[in-house]
């Protein structure tokens, strides 16, 4: 294991984050606050509590997930897309490192950034609503799993994308709709039966449901199913990355 290389990539990527600290932190905080103002204060005041949880508080886990998913994907995909676009990736590919070090460095940095962002949003949320976290360890686990898994997913998108449009395509066309329809703002029990069944094919449902369970002890699907689905998706992403580096797909002619 080439630890100096992991360290070098990680620090290099983190310094990029610090350089763009304002964009990377301020904008998600602002958008989350807007959600709280609109959904929590304005609309939430007219909503009844769901499963005994105040509506404003109910949407916190879903909102965090929404931001974590989009930010993890955006960070990680850009992190690897950019060197491919400029050509500086030659150095990574000619270095004595394997896919493990590359992923630890790039995905590690992107996940760290999302994780910190998640905490910041949690703090922001605490300003607006009464938060309670019944299972803090499970919450932390979900937070880490989500950041890592979706950073890996973003990493894949970054390698796959060969232009800026494609880089935006998946987050915009797939992830955001799935997150919105995944129960960020409602319990899937509120849906008519047919739609509830359809929704169960949406992987984000498991993520949000499990995460919400760690806060309030109530969930749409069993917590173990949520955990299993998330870990499963992580392994799918890990396998896909391993395959890409093994075959050189998109990376080496």
């Amino acid at each position: 294991m080439n630890l100096p290389a992991v360290r070098a990539i990680y620090l290099f990527e983190m310094s990029r984050t610090f350089r763009t600290l304002l964009q990377s932190v301020v904008s998600p905080v602002i958008s989350t606050s807007l959600y709280f103002v609109v959904f929590g204060a304005a609309i939430g005041s007219r909503m009844t509590a769901i499963d005994g949880v105040d509506y404003g508080a109910f949407i916190v886990p879903g909102l965090m997930m929404l931001t974590l998913l989009t930010q993890s994907i955006a960070n990680a995909s850009f992190g690897i897309y950019f060197p491919q676009f400029t050509g500086t990736i030659y150095e990574i590919l000619s270095a004595p490192i394997s896919v493990v070090e590359i992923v630890l460095g790039y995905v590690g940095a992107a996940a760290t950034k999302s994780f910190v962002l998640g905490l910041i949003i949690l703090l922001t949320a605490a300003f607006f609503v009464d938060l309670r976290i019944e299972h803090p360890l499970v919450m932390a686990l979900f937070l880490v799993l989500t950041c890592v898994t979706f950073s890996m997913f973003g990493f894949l998108i970054g390698i796959w994308a060969d232009n800026f449009e494609k880089l935006q395509l998946v987050p915009l066309l797939i992830v955001t709709p799935l997150a919105f329809l995944g129960g960020s703002f409602y319990s899937i029990d509120m849906l008519p039966p047919l739609w509830r069944t359809v929704t169960l094919f949406n992987p984000v449902v498991y993520l949000i449901s499990g995460f919400r369970w760690s806060f309030y002890g109530t969930s749409d699907v069993d917590i173990w199913v949520s955990l299993g689905a998330t870990v499963g998706f992580m392994f799918v992403c890990a396998f896909a990355i391993w395959w890409i580096f093994k075959t050189g797909w998109r990376l080496k002619p």
Binding site: P4, R7, I9, F12, R19, T86, Y90, E91, G248
Partner: protein, 308 residues
């Protein structure tokens, strides 16, 4: 001494179906400077890219310091520094950050003192906090070299290092290369400036259309392929080579004012004496006489066109 890089039966066919390298065998000796010459698209960059791990070979093997470049890539890549042909830089990063990244990537412990010395040698020290996008092309090229040397490689690949570089930087660069060689670093470079290969290299390889058509010691190459030309500048123009001189291989220039005689320097007899006697006998008068050594450039052009 075993070669430091050993290439056997190496071929590359790109996804497009284009065969960029065809069955190349090459052994590179430790500590030498090998210049690879060849026209655009000959396969020089492809060859270098395979050794460095950027392109997957279609067939054949490459070992570096005895290790296979695929199964033991960590061992081989750690020894190699690469300055690619294209100038690619992280526009928003500082010189210092990119050089530090390079050292780390190749598994070396942090050593700011070494990097400082390196940047000073390359006259980049005062630019260390400048972002890459604010550097001139020549400075970027120096940064690429600094990156390649940041991890103290034993083998250095320079893919057209002096393309678009001014005279001063070029001389700096050659001084650097000589210094590296003195320390035992093996250097493989490609260039289109033949005088550069002539001046710098110990050995010269010529690639054309994916085939390595020749690898030879520079001095030997120049001697064995070297031809000399004797040019007689005539007092009066001739319409054709006179019949009396037809047994000598002579060319008449278009203006009819010079007769050119080409001969091999390593031949037993140059044939000059008899030529001059015949010229006298044919009463062809000449004003002056000039001789020329063929340069590597002419050798190169003749090699490449011969096989075209």
């Amino acid at each position: 001494m075993p070669p430091v890089i050993s290439i056997a039966g190496l071929s590359k066919t790109y996804g497009t179906g284009f065969a960029a390298l065809k069955n190349v065998d090459l052994e590179i000796r430790k500590g030498e400077i090998l210049a690879l010459l060849g026209p655009n698209g000959a396969g020089k960059t492809t060859l270098i890219s395979i050794v460095c791990g950027l392109v997957r070979p279609s067939a054949g093997t490459v070992t570096v310091d005895g290790h296979d470049i695929i199964s033991a890539f960590r061992a081989t890549r750690a020894l190699i520094g690469l300055v690619p042909q294209e100038l690619t830089t992280d526009a928003f990063e500082t010189v210092w950050a990119t050089v530090k990244l390079s050292r780390g990537l190749f598994g070396k412990r942090r050593d700011d003192g070494f990097l400082e010395k390196l940047l000073k040698v390359l006259s980049l020290w005062d630019k260390k906090d400048t972002r890459m996008m604010h550097l001139s092309g020549g400075m970027k090229r120096r940064v690429m070299i600094a990156k390649a040397l940041s991890h103290e490689p034993e083998i250095l690949f320079l893919d057209e290092p002096t393309a678009g570089v001014d005279v001063e930087l070029r001389q700096d660069m050659w001084a650097l290369v000589r210094g590296l060689r003195e320390r035992g670093v093996t250097i493989i470079l490609t260039t289109h400036y033949i005088e550069e290969a002539e001046e710098m290299a110990d050995r010269i390889g010529v690639i054309n259309k994916g085939e390595l058509i020749l690898v030879q010691d520079k001095a030997e190459l120049m001697a064995s392929l070297g031809k000399k030309q004797l040019t007689l500048l005539l007092a009066e123009p001739l319409a054709a080579v006179p019949e009396a001189l037809s047994r000598h291989k002579l060319d008449l220039t278009e203006d009819g004012l010079s007769l050119v005689y080409t001969y091999e320097t390593h031949g037993e007899r140059t044939g000059i004496t008899s030529l001059l006697q015949d010229v006298n006998a044919a009463s062809v008068r000449f004003r002056d006489l000039v001789t020329d050594n063929s340069s590597l450039e002419e050798i190169f052009v003749s090699l490449v066109t011969e096989r075209a």
